[in-house]
Every structure is written in C-alpha cells, then in structure tokens.
Symmetry: C2
Subunit: 326 residues, 2 copies
C-alpha cells in the first residue's frame, strides 16, 4: 500500500515519511536508505565542514539512490556565521530537488531556492511562524510540537493542538514533526490534517544511522521520560537525551540569573559529536524526543517504513473503517 498525499505528490516520493534533518547524522548513508525505502532522506548541509564537502556528499548520496532526497539548511545565530550563501549555491548547482530550511530569517534563501525551482519546506514551532513562511512563498511547512527533539520553541504547544490548528489556518500543506514513531502516529497526523510526517529520533535508531551502536541501544532502553529540556533560561529551549550532562546542565540552570557561560563547557558541539562517534552517551549533549518511549528496536530504514505503512493500512482500512456505522 502507498498513501498518496499532497506531500508525496509535491516531492515525488512514495510514502509521506520524511527524515528529520539531524546534525552529524544526516549524511549519505542514512539519507539514501530513507529515500530508497520510499521516504525522503535529508542531508544536513552544516554537518559538512565546507560547501565543497557538501557537494561531495550530495554526489555520494546520488550514487547511492535514484530517488529524490533533500538538504537541510539551518540558520542559527552564531558569532561566526557559516558561509550560508556558498552552501545554498552548492545545493542549487547540484540540482537538489527539495530543501528544508530551519531557524531564523530564511526569507532570502527561500527566494534563492524558489528561483532555482527547488521545493522548500520550512520548519516551524508556531502557527504564526508558519503563516509568515507561507507568505514568504514556501511550498510546505513542518510543524514541530513540544514533544520533538531539538528546538520546540518556548510556547510548549503539543502536536495534537499545533497540527489541528495548522489544518484550520494554513493554505499550504504541512508535515507533522515530533512524537511520531509508528503507524499509529502516522495516521493520527494525517487525521489531524498533516500531509506527511517527519521523523528524527526514530531514524536515529535504524541500522543505517551513522552513529555508534551503543547510542542506538541506549535509546532502545530509554523511555518517554528520558528527555530533558535545556537552555530554557536563555529562551532557546532544546529537548535532549536526559543523560548525566543534561541533568548537570539543568541543575546549573536553576541558579538565579544563570549565564550561558556557566554551562557552555558542558554543551559544546564537539562533545555532542563525540557521543555519536565514541558511543559514550554521557560525553555531551545530544538531542532526542519523547518518541523514545515508542522505540523498541533498531530496524533498517526499509523495514521501519514498511512496518509503519502496514500498520497505517490496518488502522485506516480496518480499525477506523470497522468503527463506522452509517
């Protein structure tokens, strides 16, 4: 079975399942595996140290799949900004078909991508941001609820509300992000009005995810209570795996008038990357969503997507259909 939605048609993919753009993880092996399984794989531009490395990764990914894949561009405030323009130029030159933008002020880049005939999906945590993105001309938005890994914003609005409200307010199609790990969540998202789903943490626990096996195992053993929100005092909340470092960060953050410098050594990006490389889950901060509570195994991307579509078929064709008495 396939589910044909506005998103599968827009992106030219088989199943309405999109891999989340994950720093350090969104490389060719994972993205191509998701695309080969009928979803949309996503390379993360900034995982590549230079625009030229991104070009090599795109070429590598294209050698590993004939299906469409996308590239994520995340715009974050930083002292030294990455050469965003050059990354965008590579994406355009290499003929990538879909770009997922995230973070602040992507307007200029959305314009660039649109002119190059690339489909753009912008990641949002609030309906008001999605309406802005819609005005900027994006083709779709990804709505990220409170349960998601990474940055859910400061409003703490959960997927159930955010998606139902997006369905009422948006004209462009939207994707549900955060909290989805199986066929039940997929059908729920479609019922709420989404035209597809985004999965990050769930794809971290697949055979092809390029991270150490012991981190995948730690996630399988974890449950829905194994995440924590850090950076709340700095209004830059991020949901991460509740390891020793996250607990230490949360303790420091309880101090009145805490400054970011007090936690900076604990949360450095280099330490976070080491977690995935060395397989020690307490080496640094790494993002994970509440969907941990629904992750019980480490399948291939193909088996995961196949299983979800099978579950979704059963829910739509049997469970829900059988409840209806006209």
């Amino acid at each position: 079975m396939v589910l044909v939605t506005k998103i599968t048609k827009l992106l030219g993919i088989k199943h309405p399942i999109i891999q989340g753009g994950m720093q350090h993880v969104g490389t060719a092996p994972l993205a191509s595996a998701v695309s080969n399984a009928g979803g949309l794989g996503i390379l993360t531009a900034l995982t590549q140290p230079t625009p030229d490395d991104l070009r090599k990764e795109i070429i590598k990914c294209r050698a590993m799949t004939h299906e469409p894949f996308g590239v994520n561009m995340t715009f974050l405030p930083a002292l030294r900004l990455p050469p965003y323009k050059e990354y965008a130029q590579v994406i355009i030159e290499e003929g990538v078909k879909v770009v997922e933008t995230a973070g602040n002020n992507p307007g200029e880049y959305i314009k660039m991508f649109k002119e190059a005939n690339i489909k753009t999906i912008h990641k949002c945590v609030a309906v008001r941001h999605a309406l802005t993105a819609q005005r900027l001309g994006v083709d779709a938005v990804s709505m990220d609820g409170f349960e998601c890994a990474g940055h859910p914003g400061e409003d703490d609005i959960t997927g159930l509300i955010l998606l139902a409200k997006s369905a009422r307010k948006l004209d462009i199609p939207f994707i549900a992000s955060g909290g989805i790990g199986d066929g039940r969540g997929l059908v729920a998202a479609l019922a709420l009005g989404a035209e597809g789903i985004n999965m990050g943490t769930r794809f971290l626990c697949t055979v092809e995810a390029p991270i150490h096996a012991s981190i995948k195992q730690r996630m399988v053993e974890a449950d829905e209570r194994s995440t924590s929100i850090v950076y709340r005092p700095f209004r830059n909340s991020a949901r991460v795996f509740k390891n020793k470092v996250a607990i230490e960060v949360n303790a420091i953050e309880k101090r009145q008038g805490v400054r970011f410098e007090e936690i900076a050594p604990l949360v450095s990006g280099i330490r976070g990357k080491e977690v995935f490389l060395k397989g020690d889950s307490d080496l640094g901060i790494w993002t994970a969503g509440q969907v941990l509570g629904l992750i019980e195994d480490i399948p291939t991307c193909h088996d995961l997507i196949y299983r979800m579509m099978k579950e979704a078929e059963g829910i739509i064709q049997k469970r829900l259909q059988n409840m209806v008495v006209t």
Copy 2:
C-alpha cells in the same frame, strides 16, 4: 453516522465522547445535555457540598435525560477529607452506571463500585499508573496528556506519545484526554489506539455549561498559548487559564525555596468558584487546557457533538480513505 468502539459498547452510549469531570461545572444541566447528545455526561461528586446534595443532583439529572451518565469521584490529599465513603454509597444506591475515578489510591472505592456492578474509568497521566489501575480491575482508563486542563502529572508526556504507548501496553480500553476539541482530534485519538475521547475545556464553552457567559467568551478569544502551569515547585502541576492571578502565582513560584503558603491566598478554591459565578476571569485560578487554541465558538452540546461526528466521518470515509492506493 455513529462510531462503535469498545467504549461505546461498554458504556452503552452512541458516540465515543465523554465529558470531563469538572469541579463547579459538572452538574445536571451540562451532564444531561452531553448524554442527550449521545455522549456520556459526568456529574462531579465533590461539586455537591454533601452526599445528600449529590443524591438530589443525580435524581435531577435522571429527570433531564434517559441516557446513561456518570459521576466523577476525585481523591485528593486534603487536611479535612470529604466523606468519600458516603458519596460512594449514594452513587451505588442511586444506580449510577459509570464512575470516573481520579486522584490518589482509588483502589478501595474501585472495589466497592465493581461489586455494585458499576463500570469504572480511572484517570491516569502515565502508562505505569494505568497498568496499576488495570490490575485493580478498572474497566477502562482515561489517559491525560501534558496538554490537558488540570493535573497532567510531572512527566510532561504529550498525548501523541502517551496514547500510542498506551495502545501497546494496556489490555483494557482507554480514552484519550487532553487536547481534543474537534473531529480531527477524535479520529487522531482513535488512530492512536484510544476507544473514545474525553473533553473538559471544550465542553466549558457550550451553551449548557453552568458558568458565566463572559468566561466562555474569554476562552473563545484566548488561544493555545493562554494556559500556564502552576504548582510545579510542589510537584502538583496544574494547567490553568493564564490570567492575572496565574501570572502572579508563577512569579512567586520562581523564588528559591517557595512555600505553598505564599501562594495559597491567590489560589483558594472559593476564588476559583467566583470566576465562574461572577464572570470575572481574573478573580482566581481556573483550569483550562491548550485546546483553547481550537475553541472558536459556543455551540450547544448537541451541535458540538454532531459537528465533531460529521468531521470524523469525513476524515475516516473520505480524507484517509482517498489517500490509500493499494
């Protein structure tokens, strides 16, 4: 159309929609209206000052509907405990068919109700609590996510996760509670594995809810960001309407080592009751869920339920069905 589920069969109702047990609100006018519309109305036992008043309210409700309705019994820690046993005795003597229990240690009462052949639904905020309730012999549980009004527990697990996980772990049927205000949410809950839904805040904004019209209006004008969590420092979190009092309470709660006595005058139950009676939404603390973001009108209970079932039918029979290509 009707949706026949394990819950509609268990409770002998037409639609899988149950009114939440709301203090000061769950009286005969609202409960009978919900039951007459094909859902399950719920009287709240402790809204009645004495067990004898509860008896009168049950008799009144029975005069207003021939359909089944239930009674909510909430067990909370208190210095002077209400005469729970006598309330339970009245429920049994008056032949009520369904009891919703909530709060701590309902085991003894569940046993009493079961012996009297009353169906019991216990309200839970965590799968581990639901498993305990299942062992105690309840007929169903109501799973209350982070987005709900009132007490969501301290784990902050959202409905998307809590419901999908409940479907995997529980043998008894469960109801989805929190964050549902329309047909989209109803179908999403059923897709996630629930056999019915519970709505509190949404039923507050109906013609029949026995509260001042200006409070209903304030809720229509509010959005999903109009709630706040109070009592977090006391590990008794409650989601309430974000009015002046809630903002003041949150400010006091930020003090290191805050004691409950410092906020007690602001959050008294008498002040909360005054809100509903006098129609001044800033008089005290009153519970409301994130579903505020989905409430745009004040229909009758009949019109609300009819509209939701119509939406649900469209989603199941058309939207989802049309996506499937086998």
